[in-house]
Symmetry: C2
Subunit: 387 residues, 2 copies
């Protein structure tokens, strides 16, 4: 049977039919008043999603483009920056910093372990001359399923007073609580193919007033990714370069759906699915890569020992048309990753877990009958009852 693919990867995530139909509408002119009206509406909804009054800017770019913009608009050559690196994406932001000649200090943790906020505290507290200009953190590290402790690290940055906090929230925004204004986060980057429930193609950068002050001094070269240009035009409900109009029309539809569900419900759903997947995987006797206290609400990495990760992935695809993600770099072949981000229902989790259970049986694992599904039901139903 064709075309019955179920995406359980950390992006692209499934897209609701309402959104696909919006995407497929005939394009309209990006300089028309109709489009400006849509753009204004989307901008307001993006501020709602970011829990902020700050500018939230839309770029035609992937999440990496958005994060590059989030970094290069606020810094100058030779600036000292701390970059949290405990996975593929933290590593990537350090590479971006180095490509632009920043004085880059990598604060590392093993892939699968969380960043230690104490290391940041110490670096920031001892920086009496305020040489640290930014701290760059990947909130949900997609490559491992670790949720770094943004709230605590951010508190240390606030105590420093000078440094900006720049956050990769690509797989955390819209999945867990990130109250931008309440926490005083300076810059948040994200991408469309995640909790936004639309296909890849748009990046987003939210920018605080403090970051705009830094923008004025920043001297790294930029043009297409210049957020000052984007801001100036966004205030007139337009964009400096041709906007991806179909994607923005689709985004309006998906943000409307998110508002209908409500932030608290969206976060509870992701939390519930994280619990369900983790409980089920444990009940199936497979080791998780990360511990419960730093588990991402978007993605769960499983590090099987008694079966091959890639075999699980290929059988899940072959027999059930469920796409799981593999491991990146040195985790390639060592883990598989289950995405539970965006347009994912309780039923989807039961589907994925029951298919995983069947797959493990095919691979000859002895499993208590129904153990995975039972654990998932317990986690979903127990939590649903409480809410």
């Amino acid at each position: 049977m064709q075309d019955k693919l179920m995406l359980m990867i950390p992006g692209p995530t499934p897209v609701p039919e309402r959104v696909l139909l919006a995407l497929a509408k005939h394009p309209i002119g990006h300089r028309s008043s109709e489009f400006s009206h849509i753009f204004a509406d989307v901008t307001t909804k993006l501020q709602w999603l970011h829990q902020t009054k700050n500018d939230v800017l839309i770029l035609t770019a992937s999440g990496t483009g958005a994060m590059e913009a989030a970094i290069i608009n606020f810094l100058s050559k030779g600036d000292r920056v701390l970059v949290g690196e405990n996975g593929k994406f933290g590593q990537r932001w350090a590479e971006v910093c180095e490509a632009y000649g920043l004085n880059t200090e990598r604060i590392q943790a093993e892939w699968g372990k969380p960043l230690d906020p104490e290391v940041f505290r110490e670096k920031l507290e001892t920086d009496k001359e305020k040489s640290i200009k930014a701290v760059i953190i990947t909130h949900s590290e997609t490559s491992t399923g670790v949720l770094n402790d943004l709230e605590t690290i951010n508190r240390h940055v606030k105590a420093h007073g000078e440094a900006l906090i720049i956050v990769d929230a690509v797989t955390s925004l819209g999945a867990t609580n990130i109250p931008m204004d309440e926490w005083g986060i300076d810059v948040i980057g994200s991408g469309s193919q995640k909790a936004y429930m639309i296909p890849p193609g748009l990046g987003f950068v939210a920018v605080s007033e403090k970051a705009w002050q830094a923008y004025k001094r920043a001297d790294l070269p930029r043009y297409y990714l210049d957020l000052g240009k984007a801001r100036k035009d966004a205030h007139k409900n337009t964009t400096p370069f041709t906007a991806a109009v179909n994607m923005i029309v689709a985004l309006r539809e998906s943000l409307t759906m998110m508002q209908e569900e409500g932030l608290a419900n969206i976060f509870a759903r992701h939390s519930r699915h994280r619990s369900a997947v983790r409980s089920a995987v444990k009940a199936l006797g497979l080791p998780l890569l990360t511990s419960d206290d730093c588990a991402s609400p978007a993605i769960t990495a499983v590090a099987p020992v008694t079966v091959e990760a890639e075999k699980v992935r290929s059988l899940m695809k072959k027999h059930f048309d469920i796409a799981l993600a593999g491991g990146q770099d040195h985790l390639n072949g060592k883990i598989f990753r289950i995405g539970h981000l965006g347009y994912v229902s309780d039923r989807d989790i039961l589907s994925a877990i029951s298919a995983l259970e069947a797959t493990l049986q095919m691979l000859g694992l002895e499993i208590p009958p129904g153990a995975g599904v039972n654990a998932a039901i317990e986690a979903i139903w127990g939590q649903a009852h409480q809410s």
Copy 2:
């Protein structure tokens, strides 16, 4: 009546239903073998469109992002570049060069007039120490509807031997003949919402072997727009950052349609529509901004004197739901622009011209009855007969 908009702007251009339906398919994983297969197919088709064996790379970006990549990947800080500037887009590429600290010489012509190839010849011939590293030309200047003489300017660049020729072909590629390999063009940038017949959101950069040699020496900072990364992954049928999968699936469909029509037919259609629109506008007694010998096959700018350009635009929109473009910068309010690029049929041209004729009558202009439509029919039918 709603939702019966007809786009006659120079982008976004109309999108065929086949393509919209492809766009609206559920996304698939960008690291899947299914997607790699599509990516390989699209890449081959892009080479066909560019008439090249060179790499043609796909970026999630607008045309401006593609052109920035086309410039910054092949140059180093302080490099001397000549930038042709006879409109908004030529101006923009000069701004990009300056933002990156290039030694930028603007070769200017009045907006609406073509660049003079002789000025390039003289600059290049007198550059005995080969200090000119690139010549950057906007082929079809979208802001004015001028088609610059790329073939002649390129010949002068070839005679120089050292400088690269970097071409903004955003509104010329797929509308007029640009045989990349035959002419030896080094870098061509383009964007999806033009002759490609898909919505905005993708940019393309084709790169010659000579340009890749320059890439090795180039030192401008870049990461997201790094074409070396894109090339390395493209040779494995993937992308360094999440590909805009829905857009690429749509692109495959539109490129298939273009192959079905054939390059010669596509170019003939655009040429026919240019003639039809220009003949009709002349017959209606309105002045054209550009002369016939430098007229873009994608867009025609009209500079009315006896009626207000913005009034023509608003009545065309109000009564006929036809979107025309206005003028940019100092041409704002002085011209209106008729797009005839991409998915535009002979019938569309007759629709637009007859609506324009009606609009001019509403504005009180005395026009020989049917003059515009007759001229368009003559131009289309006369040429169709010859082909």
